[in-house]
């Protein structure tokens, strides 16, 4: 039949199904194909903490949202335009995120009595009137998949595992995407299992062909490539960007990379990825616990490696004492916290920004640690690189904060040129003459790095208070005060060595929206919407949270009002209010979810209109 073709500027699709339905793979495949077609995009995987939650249940629903378009895309989309629901529970959980009039592509087989009961539906929503305000496309994906594979004599399990590719095929047809990319992926992934390759390709094609021939789908959409900045691109997740950022930093510092870590959601993928890069002399150590993980990095750092530990909030809680030791012995160390919902075990697979104060202050004694935070998945690369630069130059542990949303989310990323990355090489002390372990560089106050194996530099370091220069144990009152100030001063001086704060938009005005971390995309979208409408609002996003950029105060004083949106109860707000004595407004959300751009738009609007009154 004749199909109508329409052009779209942007669209958001959410794939949702059981945690065993392969929705993350489906989403990732759609994403990679879309990235290769030159669209700008942003993704948001949203999956349960349970590995194989009981089938068909509400808490077992796994979702993957992708927002893509021909214009700039900064968030994974507030709401979705299309919801692919593999079963009743997936529909129930995700319906509230679907725009009015949006499309539902439902796998009818997932709406049998058992599924309906598990999803707590009294009647079948596909058959009653409850979905009348949406466009509902009903397809028995399970049956069509089975038919496509009929002559292959595959087990039910395999057939069941393939049906996600039927949905993928349909979506590829609907949005005019090529299936070649996914075919290549399957061929590579299941190299040793030809029947799995065959099955997936067949089903993918069946999905595409079904959409092409069936009368259910009448419209096919085109989303033109975006006019992104020139360059060579790849799609990248935050955790992946973190991993290769670490390798890049070690290469540029001419050091071996050591990762001491303990598996924890959502940080483990950094370990998985780094453990594949052994040809870079990367040593990864899965320790017996979080404490062993970080203390092993202190040993490695003492030995002259670029040492890193990766974890999430609960892990940081356990590492706290060791971070204090690293502060005291003044050794370089990168501590990556992929934040998740807390406190305690909290929401392992959901995002939050509530570990900022923990990073800045969470240690016994006066133990200052520099803190940097990534703002987008791709930015994790540069942020962790910056963490390494600071750690090496100032001989200090450095916190690098990302979060679950950045870690698992992805975006197209301009591949940096390896040669153009800054040289962050350091030096080991070699000269045995007049060596003292705590002699400091006059400008940075950093002590020298003297590693075992160097003749004549034998020395001892430890966690007890010490005398400057000699490092001899010293408990005298004045000495302690001097050392506390010295360690604080060293970290403060980093402010001389980081870029000045520069808002996006105007340098002064009615409102500055100040953010940090993963809220970047949502704030940027909301602020630019208002700016297009002529509102006086600018956006400043901080990478450096301790110390702050030197001119931050001046920047803040140039605005009538300051709004700080955070996925916590106002932690940056506290720091800003305390340091700059400005009445910053807090806007907080703690649902384990990122801000939507719309939420921020409304907030900004209400503040600006209040201002006009």
């Amino acid at each position: 039949m004749e199909k109508i073709e329409k052009k779209l500027k942007e669209v958001t699709i959410r794939f949702a199904g059981d945690s065993g339905d392969g929705m993350q793979i489906t989403g990732t495949q759609f994403t990679n194909t879309t990235a290769m077609m030159g669209n700008d995009l942003s993704t948001f995987p949203d999956y349960p903490a349970e590995i194989r939650a009981p089938q068909g249940t509400l808490f077992g629903v796994s979702g993957f949202q992708i927002h893509f378009g021909s214009a700039e895309i900064n968030t994974p989309g507030d709401n979705c335009d299309v919801l692919v629901a593999m079963n009743a529970a997936a529909l129930k959980v995700n319906l509230r995120g679907l725009i009015p009039g949006g499309a539902i592509i439902a796998n009818t087989d997932g709406f049998n009595d058992k599924n309906l009961k598990l999803a707590k539906y009294a009647t079948n929503p596909l058959k009653d009137d409850s979905l009348s305000s949406y466009k509902v496309y009903q397809t028995d994906i399970t049956k069509l998949t089975t038919l496509a594979l009929l002559d292959m004599n595959l087990s039910n399990k395999i057939v069941e595992r393939t049906k996600n590719f039927f949905a993928l095929g349909m979506m590829y047809w609907m949005y005019n995407r090529s299936i070649d990319q996914s075919i290549k992926w399957v061929q590579n992934k299941f190299k040793s299992k030809p029947e799995i390759v065959e099955a997936n390709i067949r089903v993918l094609k069946a999905g595409w062909n079904f959409a092409e021939t069936t009368e259910i789908f009448t419209v096919k959409y085109t989303v033109e490539p975006a006019s992104l900045p020139k360059g060579k691109y790849r799609n990248i997740t935050g955790n992946s960007a973190t991993a290769i950022g670490l390798v890049a930093a070690a290469e540029k510092a001419n050091l071996n990379l050591f990762l001491g870590t303990y598996p924890i959601t959502p940080a483990s993928d950094i370990l998985h990825e780094l453990s594949m890069y052994k040809e870079f002399n990367v040593r990864t150590f899965q320790a017996e616990d979080e404490i062993a993980a970080i203390t092993s990095t202190i040993g490695a750092s003492f030995g002259g490696s670029l040492a890193v530990t990766t974890t999430s909030g609960p892990g940081i809680a356990l590492k706290t004492e060791a971070i204090g030791l690293a502060v005291m012995v003044e050794l370089p160390l990168i501590i990556i916290n992929v934040q998740r919902g807390g406190p305690s075990t909290g929401l392992p697979t959901k995002t939050e920004q509530a570990d900022l104060l923990q990073a800045v202050y969470g240690r016994n004694g006066e133990a200052p640690v520099p803190v940097v935070a990534a703002s987008t998945p791709g930015d994790c690369f540069y942020t962790v690189f910056e963490a390494a630069r600071i750690a090496l130059k100032y001989m200090t542990p450095v916190f690098c904060l990302t979060d679950g949303y950045l870690a698992n989310g992805s975006e197209p990323w301009v591949i940096p040129d390896a040669n153009s990355l800054p040289d962050i090489s350091t030096k080991f002390r070699k000269d045995p003459n007049n060596y003292l372990p705590y002699l400091r560089n006059a400008e940075t106050l950093a002590r020298e790095w003297a590693i075992p194996g160097t003749p004549g530099l034998e020395h001892r370091i430890g966690g007890l208070e010490k005398e400057d220069k000699t490092g001899n144990i010293n408990y005298e009152p004045e000495n302690h005060e001097k050392m506390v100030h010295l360690r604080a001063e060293k970290i403060e001086r980093i402010a001389n060595d980081i870029p000045l704060a520069k808002p996006e938009g105007d340098a002064s005005g009615d409102l500055l929206v100040l953010g940090w971390g993963g809220t970047y995309g949502a704030i940027r979208t909301a602020v630019s919407t208002h700016r297009k409408n002529g509102m006086s609002v600018s956006h400043l996003h901080l990478r450096h949270l301790n110390p702050f950029p030197k001119n931050l105060g001046e920047v803040l004083y140039n605005f009538k009002k300051i709004l700080i949106p955070e996925i916590n109860l106002g932690q940056l707000s506290k720091l800003i209010r305390a340091k700059y004595l400005v009445p910053a407004l807090s806007y907080n959300k703690v649902q384990g979810l990122p801000f939507t751009a719309r939420e921020l738009e409304i907030k900004i609007e209400s503040i600006l209109s209040g201002d006009l009154k």
């Binding site: 890049a248 030995g303 966690g463």
Partner: protein, 349 residues
């Protein structure tokens, strides 16, 4: 190894000068209580370490917290005085990244078996080539006299006025149970024995775990006098020697014989048994090591000192290096440009 590390470190495995014990003494005042057993251990280590003829700059002492953990400050080598219980992990990270170093861990019964118990067993099972000296004084010294995980049941201390209700750890069987490849016990009062055992521990490839009975004359004086003093030691202890029968007693008149799997004390003078009937020690037999280890808290039996077990197993750091070498062999040396450009890429012009 990266060039930056290569630029500064010694390649040589042998020292360029002949060291004496003095070369390993620092300018720091030793701050243990007068009469503490720690002095003897420090002296023995400083005495034997020149014998290895190993570059001083490639030697590292790592400790945690406690009286014993002051040790690194007194050794003119590289050293880290870490945090409570974590010497083993700091040392592990160092050894993994710098396998050519000689790494020592100095710990105590509190540091190593209580707060650091978890790390200790994991280091032992991974079998990194690290020498662990565990000073066992069966008490908390630095915090002034609470019971420790090796204090005997019923021990009255500041924190257990009615007696401890904990069952103590036996460090030797704990190490054996952690798949230890070198497990030994010695004592502060027998310098010669201590020297021999520590030397063997250093020569062993893999984790060597050496429990050292150490008298804390302030908070637990005489805890080991039974085994260490002239009057009593011969009757209460037996020295393990590879290939030799277990004979003890002042007059060498007693022996240990295996009755099935059960060690029993027999007389060598009543005509029933001779040395040929006794248990012959075999350092390479892990089953035997457990039997000997379990003799420790049996009042009927003499307490064994010496090397319980010395077996060869692969070391963690060697395997780590092998995987790196294999990856380089397969994929070539890592190329950053290639890594950055990995996966599917596309151009926007």
């Amino acid at each position: 190894m990266s060039t930056l590390v290569d630029e500064v470190v010694t390649k040589s495995e042998t020292a360029s000068v002949k060291y004496t014990a003095k070369d390993f003494q620092t300018d720091q005042d030793v701050r243990w209580c007068p009469g503490c057993g720690d002095y003897s251990i420090l002296a023995q280590v400083q005495r034997i370490i020149p014998d290895f003829n190993f570059p001083r700059e490639k030697t590292v002492f790592v400790s945690g917290i406690g009286c014993s953990s002051r040790f690194p400050y007194y050794m003119e080598t590289y050293g880290v005085h870490g945090i409570h219980g974590r010497a083993t992990t700091i040392a592990s990270g160092l050894k993994m990244t710098r396998p050519e170093l000689q790494v020592w861990v100095v710990t105590g019964d509190g540091d190593g078996l209580s707060i650091g118990g978890n790390h200790l067993i994991h280091l032992i099972r991974r079998n990194l080539d690290i020498n662990i000296l565990l000073f066992n004084n069966q008490i908390y010294g630095l915090t002034k006299g609470q019971y420790s995980p090796t204090s005997e049941f019923g021990k009255v201390t500041k924190s257990t006025p009615q007696g401890s209700i904990d069952n103590p750890f036996n460090p030797v069987t704990l190490a054996l149970g952690s798949s230890g490849t070198f497990v030994a016990r010695t004592m502060d009062r027998d310098p010669k024995h201590m020297q021999t055992v520590i030397k063997r521990g250093v020569q062993h490839r893999g984790t060597s775990f050496i429990e050292i009975y150490q008298n804390c004359n302030v908070f637990n004086d005489g805890a080991f006098f039974h085994f260490t003093e002239k009057e009593s030691k011969d009757e209460n202890s037996v020295i393990l020697e590879h290939g030799k029968p277990l004979i003890f007693g002042k007059a060498k008149d007693k022996g240990v014989r295996l009755d099935g799997f059960t060690p029993k004390v027999v007389s060598l003078t009543d005509g029933k048994y001779s040395a040929n009937d006794l248990l012959i020690h075999n350092e390479n037999d892990s089953t035997l090591a457990f039997i000997l280890g379990n003799m420790s808290y049996n009042p009927e039996l003499p307490r064994p000192f010496g090397i319980f077990l010395d077996t060869a197993e692969h070391c963690y750091e060697d395997e780590m290096q092998k995987q790196i070498d294999l990856a380089i062999q397969k994929k070539g040396k890592g190329n950053l440009e290639k890594l950055l450009n990995g996966g599917d890429t596309w151009f926007i012009n």
